[in-house]
Protein backbone atom coordinates (compact mmCIF):
# COMPACT_ATOMS: atom_id res chain seq x y z
CA UNK A 1 0.00 0.00 0.00
CA UNK A 2 0.99 3.61 -0.38
CA UNK A 3 1.31 5.28 2.99
CA UNK A 4 -0.21 8.73 3.36
CA UNK A 5 1.77 10.52 6.08
CA UNK A 6 -0.83 13.23 6.58
CA UNK A 7 -3.48 10.62 7.14
CA UNK A 8 -1.25 8.91 9.61
CA UNK A 9 -0.57 12.13 11.50
CA UNK A 10 -4.30 12.76 11.62
CA UNK A 11 -4.85 9.30 13.13
CA UNK A 12 -2.20 9.87 15.75
CA UNK A 13 -3.71 13.23 16.61
CA UNK A 14 -7.14 11.61 16.94
CA UNK A 15 -5.72 8.88 19.15
CA UNK A 16 -4.17 11.49 21.36
CA UNK A 17 -7.14 13.86 21.48
CA UNK A 18 -9.72 11.23 22.20
CA UNK A 19 -7.31 9.56 24.62
CA UNK A 20 -7.70 6.21 22.91
CA UNK A 21 -5.18 3.41 22.95
CA UNK A 22 -5.90 2.06 19.51
CA UNK A 23 -7.45 3.05 16.18
CA UNK A 24 -7.77 0.71 13.22
CA UNK A 25 -8.76 1.84 9.74
CA UNK A 26 -9.52 -0.58 6.95
CA UNK A 27 -9.98 0.39 3.32
CA UNK A 28 -10.03 -2.17 0.54
CA UNK A 29 -7.03 -4.35 1.32
CA UNK A 30 -5.15 -1.71 3.30
CA UNK A 31 -5.26 -1.69 7.00
CA UNK A 32 -3.58 0.73 9.42
CA UNK A 33 -3.69 0.22 13.13
CA UNK A 34 -2.26 2.94 15.39
CA UNK A 35 -1.79 1.92 18.93
CA UNK A 36 0.15 3.23 21.88
CA UNK A 37 1.51 1.69 25.03
CA UNK A 38 2.68 -0.81 25.96
CA UNK A 39 3.43 -3.38 23.24
CA UNK A 40 4.21 -2.90 19.55
CA UNK A 41 1.37 -1.95 17.34
CA UNK A 42 0.26 -2.29 13.81
CA UNK A 43 -1.19 -4.67 11.34
CA UNK A 44 1.38 -6.55 9.27
CA UNK A 45 0.91 -4.45 6.14
CA UNK A 46 2.08 -1.19 7.64
CA UNK A 47 4.43 -2.35 10.36
CA UNK A 48 7.62 -0.70 9.23
CA UNK A 49 6.18 2.66 8.39
CA UNK A 50 3.91 3.10 11.37
CA UNK A 51 6.25 2.28 14.21
CA UNK A 52 8.49 5.37 13.96
CA UNK A 53 5.52 7.68 13.69
CA UNK A 54 4.03 6.31 16.87
CA UNK A 55 7.33 6.66 18.65
CA UNK A 56 7.27 10.33 17.66
CA UNK A 57 3.82 10.71 19.13
CA UNK A 58 4.97 9.15 22.40
CA UNK A 59 7.78 11.67 22.55
CA UNK A 60 5.25 14.46 22.24
CA UNK A 61 3.42 13.16 25.28
CA UNK A 62 6.63 13.15 27.25
CA UNK A 63 7.39 9.45 27.34
CA UNK A 64 10.84 8.36 26.38
CA UNK A 65 10.90 7.28 22.74
CA UNK A 66 11.67 3.64 23.43
CA UNK A 67 9.14 3.15 26.17
CA UNK A 68 6.37 2.18 23.79
CA UNK A 69 7.99 -1.04 22.67
CA UNK A 70 10.39 -1.99 25.43
CA UNK A 71 8.41 -1.43 28.60
CA UNK A 72 7.69 -5.13 28.95
CA UNK A 73 11.40 -5.67 29.63
CA UNK A 74 11.45 -3.41 32.65
CA UNK A 75 10.13 -3.69 36.18
CA UNK A 76 8.82 -0.26 37.13
CA UNK A 77 8.00 1.14 40.54
CA UNK A 78 4.30 0.99 41.39
CA UNK A 79 4.76 3.61 44.16
CA UNK A 80 6.62 6.72 45.10
CA UNK A 81 9.08 5.81 47.81
CA UNK A 82 12.56 4.63 48.70
CA UNK A 83 14.13 1.68 46.87
CA UNK A 84 15.78 -1.10 48.88
CA UNK A 85 17.47 -4.14 47.39
CA UNK A 86 17.56 -6.16 50.60
CA UNK A 87 15.07 -7.03 53.36
CA UNK A 88 17.30 -5.40 56.01
CA UNK A 89 20.27 -2.98 55.96
CA UNK A 90 22.85 -5.79 56.38
CA UNK A 91 20.86 -8.49 54.59
CA UNK A 92 21.64 -10.02 51.22
CA UNK A 93 19.99 -8.46 48.17
CA UNK A 94 16.81 -10.15 46.99
CA UNK A 95 18.27 -10.47 43.50
CA UNK A 96 21.48 -9.70 41.60
CA UNK A 97 22.44 -9.29 37.96
CA UNK A 98 22.40 -12.68 36.26
CA UNK A 99 19.83 -14.19 38.59
CA UNK A 100 16.92 -16.09 37.10
CA UNK A 101 13.57 -14.95 38.46
CA UNK A 102 10.13 -16.50 38.60
CA UNK A 103 6.72 -14.84 38.75
CA UNK A 104 5.86 -13.90 42.33
CA UNK A 105 9.49 -13.71 43.42
CA UNK A 106 10.33 -10.65 45.54
CA UNK A 107 12.78 -8.38 43.70
CA UNK A 108 13.06 -5.39 46.01
CA UNK A 109 11.26 -3.19 48.52
CA UNK A 110 9.81 0.25 47.94
CA UNK A 111 9.22 1.98 51.26
CA UNK A 112 6.43 4.52 51.44
CA UNK A 113 5.00 5.99 54.65
CA UNK A 114 7.10 3.60 56.77
CA UNK A 115 5.55 0.63 54.99
CA UNK A 116 7.83 -1.86 53.32
CA UNK A 117 6.15 -2.82 50.04
CA UNK A 118 7.65 -5.92 48.47
CA UNK A 119 7.79 -5.68 44.70
CA UNK A 120 7.31 -9.03 42.99
CA UNK A 121 8.26 -10.21 39.51
CA UNK A 122 5.30 -10.60 37.17
CA UNK A 123 7.14 -12.67 34.55
CA UNK A 124 9.94 -15.20 34.43
CA UNK A 125 13.33 -14.08 33.14
CA UNK A 126 16.86 -13.02 33.98
CA UNK A 127 17.96 -9.79 35.68
CA UNK A 128 20.14 -7.94 33.18
CA UNK A 129 20.56 -4.61 34.94
CA UNK A 130 19.68 -2.98 38.25
CA UNK A 131 18.82 0.61 37.45
CA UNK A 132 18.47 2.24 40.88
CA UNK A 133 20.99 2.43 43.68
CA UNK A 134 20.04 0.96 47.04
CA UNK A 135 18.42 3.57 49.32
CA UNK A 136 17.58 6.05 46.54
CA UNK A 137 14.14 7.62 46.06
CA UNK A 138 11.99 6.41 43.18
CA UNK A 139 8.94 7.94 41.54
CA UNK A 140 5.86 6.22 40.24
CA UNK A 141 6.79 4.46 36.99
CA UNK A 142 10.56 4.68 37.46
CA UNK A 143 12.42 1.72 35.98
CA UNK A 144 13.97 -0.51 38.63
CA UNK A 145 15.24 -3.59 36.79
CA UNK A 146 15.85 -4.57 33.21
CA UNK A 147 14.84 -8.13 32.54
CA UNK A 148 15.43 -10.52 29.71
CA UNK A 149 12.29 -12.58 29.33
CA UNK A 150 11.67 -15.92 27.72
Amino acid sequence: MKLDLDQLRELIRLLDEANLTEIEVEHDDDRIRVRRDPSPLVGPAAAESVAPAVAASSAATGLTPDSADEDSDYVTSPFVGTFYRAPSPDGDPFVDVGDSIAPGQVLCIVEAMKLMNEIEAEVAGTIVEILVENGKPVEYGDRLFRIETG
Binding site: E17, N19, F79, A112, E139, Y140
Partner: protein, 444 residues
Protein backbone atom coordinates in the same frame (compact mmCIF):
# COMPACT_ATOMS: atom_id res chain seq x y z
CA UNK B 1 9.81 28.37 59.38
CA UNK B 2 9.45 25.24 57.29
CA UNK B 3 11.69 25.31 54.23
CA UNK B 4 10.22 23.11 51.54
CA UNK B 5 6.55 23.09 50.57
CA UNK B 6 4.94 20.25 48.64
CA UNK B 7 1.95 21.37 46.60
CA UNK B 8 -0.65 18.60 46.46
CA UNK B 9 -2.40 19.95 43.38
CA UNK B 10 -1.99 20.80 39.71
CA UNK B 11 -2.88 23.52 37.23
CA UNK B 12 -3.12 27.21 37.97
CA UNK B 13 -3.52 26.86 41.74
CA UNK B 14 -0.32 24.80 42.01
CA UNK B 15 1.51 27.60 40.18
CA UNK B 16 -0.16 30.19 42.36
CA UNK B 17 1.24 28.49 45.49
CA UNK B 18 4.68 27.95 43.90
CA UNK B 19 4.85 31.69 43.18
CA UNK B 20 4.10 32.84 46.72
CA UNK B 21 6.50 30.25 48.17
CA UNK B 22 9.29 31.30 45.83
CA UNK B 23 8.87 34.97 46.73
CA UNK B 24 9.18 33.99 50.37
CA UNK B 25 12.33 31.98 49.66
CA UNK B 26 10.74 28.58 50.26
CA UNK B 27 11.64 25.63 48.07
CA UNK B 28 8.80 23.85 46.28
CA UNK B 29 7.95 20.28 45.33
CA UNK B 30 5.37 19.56 42.64
CA UNK B 31 3.60 16.23 42.49
CA UNK B 32 2.17 15.12 39.18
CA UNK B 33 0.46 12.26 37.41
CA UNK B 34 1.94 10.58 34.35
CA UNK B 35 -0.01 12.79 31.94
CA UNK B 36 1.16 15.91 33.76
CA UNK B 37 4.87 15.16 33.33
CA UNK B 38 5.21 18.26 31.12
CA UNK B 39 2.63 20.40 32.92
CA UNK B 40 3.67 23.87 33.99
CA UNK B 41 3.56 23.18 37.74
CA UNK B 42 5.83 20.18 37.16
CA UNK B 43 8.28 22.35 35.25
CA UNK B 44 8.29 25.41 37.48
CA UNK B 45 8.65 23.80 40.91
CA UNK B 46 12.16 23.21 42.26
CA UNK B 47 11.52 19.47 42.28
CA UNK B 48 8.81 17.29 40.75
CA UNK B 49 7.73 13.78 41.66
CA UNK B 50 5.52 11.49 39.59
CA UNK B 51 2.99 10.01 42.01
CA UNK B 52 0.77 7.88 39.80
CA UNK B 53 -1.25 7.46 36.62
CA UNK B 54 -3.69 9.99 35.16
CA UNK B 55 -6.65 8.76 37.21
CA UNK B 56 -6.87 11.25 40.12
CA UNK B 57 -7.89 8.49 42.54
CA UNK B 58 -4.45 6.96 41.99
CA UNK B 59 -2.46 10.21 41.90
CA UNK B 60 -3.69 13.60 43.15
CA UNK B 61 -6.19 11.97 45.54
CA UNK B 62 -3.88 9.18 46.64
CA UNK B 63 -2.72 10.17 50.13
CA UNK B 64 0.08 7.56 50.57
CA UNK B 65 1.72 8.59 47.28
CA UNK B 66 1.68 12.27 48.23
CA UNK B 67 3.08 11.61 51.71
CA UNK B 68 5.78 9.36 50.21
CA UNK B 69 6.69 12.15 47.76
CA UNK B 70 7.10 14.52 50.71
CA UNK B 71 9.25 11.94 52.49
CA UNK B 72 11.67 11.30 49.63
CA UNK B 73 12.08 15.01 48.88
CA UNK B 74 12.34 16.13 52.48
CA UNK B 75 9.41 18.53 52.22
CA UNK B 76 8.24 19.78 55.61
CA UNK B 77 4.93 21.44 54.68
CA UNK B 78 2.01 20.70 52.35
CA UNK B 79 -0.34 23.12 50.59
CA UNK B 80 -3.44 21.34 49.25
CA UNK B 81 -4.75 24.10 46.92
CA UNK B 82 -8.48 23.75 46.23
CA UNK B 83 -10.41 20.65 45.18
CA UNK B 84 -8.65 17.25 45.37
CA UNK B 85 -7.62 16.69 49.03
CA UNK B 86 -8.04 20.28 50.23
CA UNK B 87 -11.08 19.56 52.39
CA UNK B 88 -10.17 16.01 53.36
CA UNK B 89 -9.64 15.85 57.15
CA UNK B 90 -7.87 12.47 56.92
CA UNK B 91 -5.27 14.03 54.64
CA UNK B 92 -4.66 16.92 57.03
CA UNK B 93 -4.39 14.44 59.91
CA UNK B 94 -2.01 12.17 58.01
CA UNK B 95 0.21 15.16 57.20
CA UNK B 96 0.36 16.06 60.89
CA UNK B 97 1.13 12.47 61.90
CA UNK B 98 3.99 12.39 59.40
CA UNK B 99 5.47 15.61 60.72
CA UNK B 100 4.31 17.72 57.78
CA UNK B 101 2.84 21.16 58.41
CA UNK B 102 -0.55 21.25 56.69
CA UNK B 103 -1.19 24.75 55.30
CA UNK B 104 -4.90 25.12 55.93
CA UNK B 105 -7.56 24.73 58.60
CA UNK B 106 -7.63 22.08 61.31
CA UNK B 107 -9.07 18.62 60.45
CA UNK B 108 -11.92 19.06 62.95
CA UNK B 109 -12.84 22.34 61.29
CA UNK B 110 -13.07 20.60 57.92
CA UNK B 111 -15.40 18.07 59.53
CA UNK B 112 -17.52 20.72 61.25
CA UNK B 113 -18.01 22.80 58.12
CA UNK B 114 -17.83 20.07 55.48
CA UNK B 115 -21.32 18.70 56.10
CA UNK B 116 -23.95 21.19 54.97
CA UNK B 117 -26.59 20.40 57.56
CA UNK B 118 -24.19 20.45 60.52
CA UNK B 119 -22.52 23.58 59.11
CA UNK B 120 -25.85 25.41 59.17
CA UNK B 121 -26.60 24.30 62.69
CA UNK B 122 -23.16 25.47 63.76
CA UNK B 123 -23.55 28.78 61.91
CA UNK B 124 -26.87 29.39 63.61
CA UNK B 125 -25.41 28.63 67.04
CA UNK B 126 -22.62 31.12 66.29
CA UNK B 127 -25.17 33.85 65.58
CA UNK B 128 -24.95 33.88 61.78
CA UNK B 129 -28.24 34.46 59.94
CA UNK B 130 -29.34 31.21 58.30
CA UNK B 131 -32.01 30.49 55.74
CA UNK B 132 -35.39 29.77 57.30
CA UNK B 133 -36.21 26.10 57.16
CA UNK B 134 -38.14 23.33 58.83
CA UNK B 135 -37.26 20.07 60.48
CA UNK B 136 -37.90 16.79 58.69
CA UNK B 137 -41.51 16.25 57.66
CA UNK B 138 -43.50 13.23 58.82
CA UNK B 139 -46.23 12.88 56.19
CA UNK B 140 -48.13 14.91 53.61
CA UNK B 141 -50.39 16.66 56.19
CA UNK B 142 -47.39 17.56 58.33
CA UNK B 143 -45.67 18.83 55.17
CA UNK B 144 -48.60 21.13 54.34
CA UNK B 145 -48.63 22.55 57.88
CA UNK B 146 -44.87 23.13 57.88
CA UNK B 147 -44.84 24.67 54.39
CA UNK B 148 -47.68 27.05 55.27
CA UNK B 149 -45.97 28.18 58.43
CA UNK B 150 -42.83 28.92 56.39
CA UNK B 151 -44.89 30.61 53.64
CA UNK B 152 -44.92 29.69 49.92
CA UNK B 153 -42.90 29.55 47.72
CA UNK B 154 -40.86 26.87 49.43
CA UNK B 155 -38.10 24.51 48.40
CA UNK B 156 -38.70 20.85 49.19
CA UNK B 157 -35.30 19.24 49.69
CA UNK B 158 -34.02 15.73 50.25
CA UNK B 159 -31.94 15.54 53.40
CA UNK B 160 -29.50 13.21 51.66
CA UNK B 161 -29.33 15.26 48.45
CA UNK B 162 -26.78 17.75 47.22
CA UNK B 163 -25.52 19.74 44.26
CA UNK B 164 -29.02 20.82 43.32
CA UNK B 165 -30.37 17.28 43.07
CA UNK B 166 -33.62 16.21 44.71
CA UNK B 167 -35.09 19.72 44.98
CA UNK B 168 -38.60 20.93 44.12
CA UNK B 169 -39.80 24.54 44.03
CA UNK B 170 -43.42 24.64 45.24
CA UNK B 171 -45.76 27.63 44.99
CA UNK B 172 -48.88 26.30 46.69
CA UNK B 173 -50.18 23.51 48.91
CA UNK B 174 -51.89 22.00 45.86
CA UNK B 175 -48.53 21.68 44.14
CA UNK B 176 -47.11 20.23 47.34
CA UNK B 177 -49.85 17.59 47.62
CA UNK B 178 -49.36 16.66 43.97
CA UNK B 179 -45.60 16.14 44.23
CA UNK B 180 -45.02 14.95 47.80
CA UNK B 181 -45.17 11.16 47.43
CA UNK B 182 -43.16 11.24 44.19
CA UNK B 183 -40.48 13.38 45.81
CA UNK B 184 -40.33 10.96 48.71
CA UNK B 185 -39.94 7.96 46.40
CA UNK B 186 -37.30 9.80 44.34
CA UNK B 187 -35.33 10.60 47.44
CA UNK B 188 -35.51 7.00 48.62
CA UNK B 189 -34.34 5.78 45.21
CA UNK B 190 -31.60 8.36 44.70
CA UNK B 191 -30.17 8.88 48.17
CA UNK B 192 -31.24 5.78 50.08
CA UNK B 193 -33.45 7.69 52.50
CA UNK B 194 -36.75 9.53 52.15
CA UNK B 195 -36.17 12.28 54.74
CA UNK B 196 -37.49 15.57 53.34
CA UNK B 197 -37.51 19.12 54.70
CA UNK B 198 -38.40 22.62 53.55
CA UNK B 199 -36.40 25.74 53.01
CA UNK B 200 -37.62 29.21 52.16
CA UNK B 201 -37.32 29.60 48.38
CA UNK B 202 -35.58 32.77 47.21
CA UNK B 203 -36.72 33.83 43.74
CA UNK B 204 -33.73 35.76 42.50
CA UNK B 205 -30.93 35.50 45.03
CA UNK B 206 -27.41 36.78 44.61
CA UNK B 207 -24.45 34.68 45.71
CA UNK B 208 -22.28 36.74 48.06
CA UNK B 209 -19.33 35.32 49.97
CA UNK B 210 -16.97 36.71 52.59
CA UNK B 211 -13.26 35.90 52.77
CA UNK B 212 -11.81 35.27 56.19
CA UNK B 213 -8.37 34.58 57.64
CA UNK B 214 -7.72 33.28 61.14
CA UNK B 215 -4.37 32.82 62.89
CA UNK B 216 -3.18 30.52 65.69
CA UNK B 217 -3.48 33.37 68.22
CA UNK B 218 -7.23 33.69 68.03
CA UNK B 219 -7.34 36.60 65.57
CA UNK B 220 -9.88 36.46 62.77
CA UNK B 221 -10.14 39.04 60.00
CA UNK B 222 -12.86 39.48 57.41
CA UNK B 223 -11.54 40.66 54.06
CA UNK B 224 -14.71 41.88 52.42
CA UNK B 225 -17.00 40.10 50.03
CA UNK B 226 -17.07 38.72 46.53
CA UNK B 227 -20.11 38.50 44.30
CA UNK B 228 -20.32 35.18 42.44
CA UNK B 229 -23.86 35.25 41.06
CA UNK B 230 -22.81 34.38 37.52
CA UNK B 231 -23.06 30.60 37.70
CA UNK B 232 -23.94 27.66 35.56
CA UNK B 233 -25.28 24.61 37.38
CA UNK B 234 -23.84 25.89 40.67
CA UNK B 235 -20.42 26.39 39.07
CA UNK B 236 -19.14 29.96 39.30
CA UNK B 237 -17.95 31.47 36.04
CA UNK B 238 -17.32 35.16 36.70
CA UNK B 239 -16.70 36.79 40.06
CA UNK B 240 -16.17 40.32 41.27
CA UNK B 241 -15.30 42.33 44.34
CA UNK B 242 -16.83 44.31 45.89
CA UNK B 243 -20.51 43.52 45.23
CA UNK B 244 -22.66 46.41 43.98
CA UNK B 245 -25.53 44.99 46.02
CA UNK B 246 -23.96 45.69 49.42
CA UNK B 247 -23.96 49.09 51.05
CA UNK B 248 -21.03 50.06 53.22
CA UNK B 249 -23.24 49.54 56.24
CA UNK B 250 -24.31 46.02 55.18
CA UNK B 251 -20.67 45.15 54.54
CA UNK B 252 -19.40 46.36 57.89
CA UNK B 253 -22.35 44.88 59.82
CA UNK B 254 -21.91 41.44 58.27
CA UNK B 255 -18.12 41.62 58.60
CA UNK B 256 -18.50 42.31 62.32
CA UNK B 257 -21.01 39.44 62.72
CA UNK B 258 -18.73 37.01 60.88
CA UNK B 259 -15.67 38.14 62.78
CA UNK B 260 -17.43 37.53 66.11
CA UNK B 261 -18.74 34.13 65.00
CA UNK B 262 -15.51 32.83 63.51
CA UNK B 263 -13.41 34.14 66.40
CA UNK B 264 -15.67 32.18 68.72
CA UNK B 265 -15.24 29.13 66.45
CA UNK B 266 -11.44 29.60 66.57
CA UNK B 267 -11.19 29.31 62.80
CA UNK B 268 -7.69 28.82 61.37
CA UNK B 269 -6.29 29.81 57.96
CA UNK B 270 -8.25 30.96 54.89
CA UNK B 271 -11.93 30.22 54.56
CA UNK B 272 -15.02 31.52 52.81
CA UNK B 273 -18.54 31.92 54.11
CA UNK B 274 -21.12 31.76 51.35
CA UNK B 275 -24.44 33.60 51.63
CA UNK B 276 -27.53 34.18 49.58
CA UNK B 277 -28.72 37.77 49.32
CA UNK B 278 -32.45 38.11 48.69
CA UNK B 279 -34.17 41.02 47.02
CA UNK B 280 -35.05 42.61 50.36
CA UNK B 281 -31.34 42.88 51.17
CA UNK B 282 -31.14 40.05 53.68
CA UNK B 283 -28.02 37.85 53.78
CA UNK B 284 -28.44 34.23 54.86
CA UNK B 285 -25.66 31.71 55.42
CA UNK B 286 -25.40 28.95 52.83
CA UNK B 287 -22.15 27.11 53.51
CA UNK B 288 -18.55 27.51 54.56
CA UNK B 289 -15.57 26.44 52.44
CA UNK B 290 -12.55 25.60 54.61
CA UNK B 291 -9.86 26.23 51.96
CA UNK B 292 -8.52 28.80 49.52
CA UNK B 293 -10.97 29.39 46.67
CA UNK B 294 -10.59 29.69 42.92
CA UNK B 295 -11.80 33.30 42.97
CA UNK B 296 -9.48 34.51 45.76
CA UNK B 297 -7.55 36.88 43.43
CA UNK B 298 -10.37 39.45 43.25
CA UNK B 299 -10.09 39.85 47.01
CA UNK B 300 -6.29 40.06 46.76
CA UNK B 301 -6.53 42.89 44.25
CA UNK B 302 -9.05 45.09 46.07
CA UNK B 303 -7.55 44.39 49.51
CA UNK B 304 -3.89 44.55 48.49
CA UNK B 305 -3.04 41.24 50.15
CA UNK B 306 -1.44 37.90 49.18
CA UNK B 307 -3.82 35.32 50.64
CA UNK B 308 -1.55 32.33 49.92
CA UNK B 309 1.36 34.04 51.64
CA UNK B 310 -0.91 34.78 54.61
CA UNK B 311 -1.84 31.07 54.74
CA UNK B 312 1.85 30.18 54.79
CA UNK B 313 2.61 32.71 57.56
CA UNK B 314 -0.38 31.53 59.59
CA UNK B 315 0.67 27.88 59.28
CA UNK B 316 4.06 28.87 60.62
CA UNK B 317 2.40 30.39 63.69
CA UNK B 318 2.83 34.06 62.81
CA UNK B 319 0.25 36.64 63.77
CA UNK B 320 -1.95 38.30 61.18
CA UNK B 321 -0.67 41.81 60.59
CA UNK B 322 -3.95 43.38 59.64
CA UNK B 323 -5.50 46.52 61.12
CA UNK B 324 -8.14 46.08 63.80
CA UNK B 325 -10.72 47.90 61.70
CA UNK B 326 -11.85 45.97 58.63
CA UNK B 327 -9.98 46.88 55.45
CA UNK B 328 -12.08 48.75 52.90
CA UNK B 329 -11.96 47.52 49.29
CA UNK B 330 -10.03 49.76 46.89
CA UNK B 331 -11.39 49.92 43.37
CA UNK B 332 -13.12 47.03 41.63
CA UNK B 333 -11.85 43.63 40.49
CA UNK B 334 -13.41 41.09 38.11
CA UNK B 335 -12.27 37.54 37.39
CA UNK B 336 -13.24 35.46 34.35
CA UNK B 337 -12.68 31.72 34.59
CA UNK B 338 -11.45 30.53 31.21
CA UNK B 339 -12.51 26.92 30.75
CA UNK B 340 -11.48 24.49 28.03
CA UNK B 341 -15.00 23.91 26.83
CA UNK B 342 -17.35 24.69 24.00
CA UNK B 343 -18.97 28.08 24.77
CA UNK B 344 -22.34 26.88 23.42
CA UNK B 345 -22.63 23.25 24.47
CA UNK B 346 -20.21 23.32 27.43
CA UNK B 347 -18.69 20.06 26.21
CA UNK B 348 -15.10 19.71 27.45
CA UNK B 349 -12.42 20.61 24.91
CA UNK B 350 -9.08 19.09 25.91
CA UNK B 351 -6.13 19.01 23.52
CA UNK B 352 -2.82 20.58 22.64
CA UNK B 353 -2.45 24.36 22.95
CA UNK B 354 -1.16 25.29 19.50
CA UNK B 355 -0.68 28.99 20.19
CA UNK B 356 -1.05 31.17 23.22
CA UNK B 357 -1.11 34.86 23.89
CA UNK B 358 -2.27 36.00 27.29
CA UNK B 359 -3.65 39.45 27.97
CA UNK B 360 -1.43 42.00 29.68
CA UNK B 361 -1.19 45.70 30.34
CA UNK B 362 -2.04 47.75 33.40
CA UNK B 363 -4.42 46.23 35.88
CA UNK B 364 -4.48 42.77 34.24
CA UNK B 365 -3.40 39.63 36.05
CA UNK B 366 -3.43 36.14 34.57
CA UNK B 367 -3.22 33.00 36.70
CA UNK B 368 -2.88 30.06 34.37
CA UNK B 369 -1.40 26.60 34.08
CA UNK B 370 -1.08 26.37 30.29
CA UNK B 371 1.62 27.23 27.77
CA UNK B 372 2.02 27.14 23.99
CA UNK B 373 2.68 23.54 22.93
CA UNK B 374 1.39 22.24 26.26
CA UNK B 375 -1.55 19.94 26.70
CA UNK B 376 -4.88 20.21 28.47
CA UNK B 377 -5.49 16.60 29.54
CA UNK B 378 -9.06 15.30 29.58
CA UNK B 379 -8.80 13.88 33.09
CA UNK B 380 -9.13 17.04 35.19
CA UNK B 381 -10.93 20.31 35.79
CA UNK B 382 -11.49 22.32 32.56
CA UNK B 383 -10.20 25.57 34.17
CA UNK B 384 -7.13 26.61 32.17
CA UNK B 385 -6.73 30.27 33.13
CA UNK B 386 -8.14 33.04 35.27
CA UNK B 387 -8.04 36.53 33.85
CA UNK B 388 -8.40 39.09 36.62
CA UNK B 389 -8.60 42.86 36.20
CA UNK B 390 -8.44 45.71 38.70
CA UNK B 391 -9.59 49.28 38.03
CA UNK B 392 -10.83 52.25 40.07
CA UNK B 393 -14.51 51.69 39.21
CA UNK B 394 -16.70 48.78 38.15
CA UNK B 395 -17.38 50.36 34.74
CA UNK B 396 -13.64 50.71 34.15
CA UNK B 397 -13.06 47.13 35.29
CA UNK B 398 -15.66 45.89 32.79
CA UNK B 399 -14.00 47.91 30.00
CA UNK B 400 -10.61 46.53 31.02
CA UNK B 401 -11.89 42.94 31.04
CA UNK B 402 -13.44 43.37 27.58
CA UNK B 403 -10.09 44.67 26.36
CA UNK B 404 -8.18 41.83 28.06
CA UNK B 405 -10.43 39.11 26.59
CA UNK B 406 -10.18 40.65 23.12
CA UNK B 407 -6.41 40.25 23.10
CA UNK B 408 -6.34 36.73 24.53
CA UNK B 409 -5.50 34.01 22.02
CA UNK B 410 -5.75 30.35 23.01
CA UNK B 411 -5.35 28.13 19.94
CA UNK B 412 -5.97 24.40 19.60
CA UNK B 413 -8.80 24.12 22.11
CA UNK B 414 -12.17 25.79 22.45
CA UNK B 415 -12.75 28.09 25.42
CA UNK B 416 -15.67 29.91 27.01
CA UNK B 417 -14.24 33.37 26.21
CA UNK B 418 -17.19 34.14 23.85
CA UNK B 419 -19.57 33.40 26.74
CA UNK B 420 -17.70 35.86 28.99
CA UNK B 421 -17.90 38.48 26.25
CA UNK B 422 -21.66 38.02 26.02
CA UNK B 423 -22.00 38.37 29.80
CA UNK B 424 -19.87 41.53 29.92
CA UNK B 425 -21.84 43.11 27.05
CA UNK B 426 -25.23 42.43 28.60
CA UNK B 427 -27.00 45.60 29.84
CA UNK B 428 -28.17 43.86 33.04
CA UNK B 429 -24.59 42.93 33.87
CA UNK B 430 -23.36 46.44 33.18
CA UNK B 431 -26.05 47.78 35.50
CA UNK B 432 -25.17 45.23 38.16
CA UNK B 433 -28.61 43.59 38.12
CA UNK B 434 -27.46 40.07 38.90
CA UNK B 435 -28.88 36.87 40.31
CA UNK B 436 -27.88 33.23 40.26
CA UNK B 437 -30.32 32.83 37.34
CA UNK B 438 -28.48 35.40 35.21
CA UNK B 439 -26.85 32.85 32.92
CA UNK B 440 -30.03 30.79 32.46
CA UNK B 441 -31.83 33.96 31.41
CA UNK B 442 -28.99 35.03 29.11
CA UNK B 443 -29.13 31.70 27.34
CA UNK B 444 -32.87 31.10 27.58
Amino acid sequence: MFEKVLIANRGEIALRVIRSCRERGLRTVAVHSEVDVDALHTRLADEAICIGPADPARSYLHIPAIIAAAEITGADAVHPGYGFLSENPEFAETCAQCGLQFIGPLPEQMRQWGDKVSARTLAKSLGLPTLEGTGLVVDVEDAVTKAESLGFPVLLKASGGGGGRGMHVLNSKEELRAVFETARAESRAAFGNDALYFEKFLERPRHIEFQILGDKHGNVHVLGERECSIQRRHQKILEEAPSVALTEEMRSDMSATIRRAMTEAGYLSAGTLEFLLDESGELTFLEMNPRIQVEHPVTELVMGIDLIDEQVRIADGERLKLPARPLAPRGHAIECRINAEDPETFAPSPGVITELHMAGGTGVRVDSGIYGGGRVPPHYDPLVAKIIVHAPTRAQAIAKMRRALSETIIGGIRTNIPLHQRILDHPAFEEGRLSTHFLDELQG
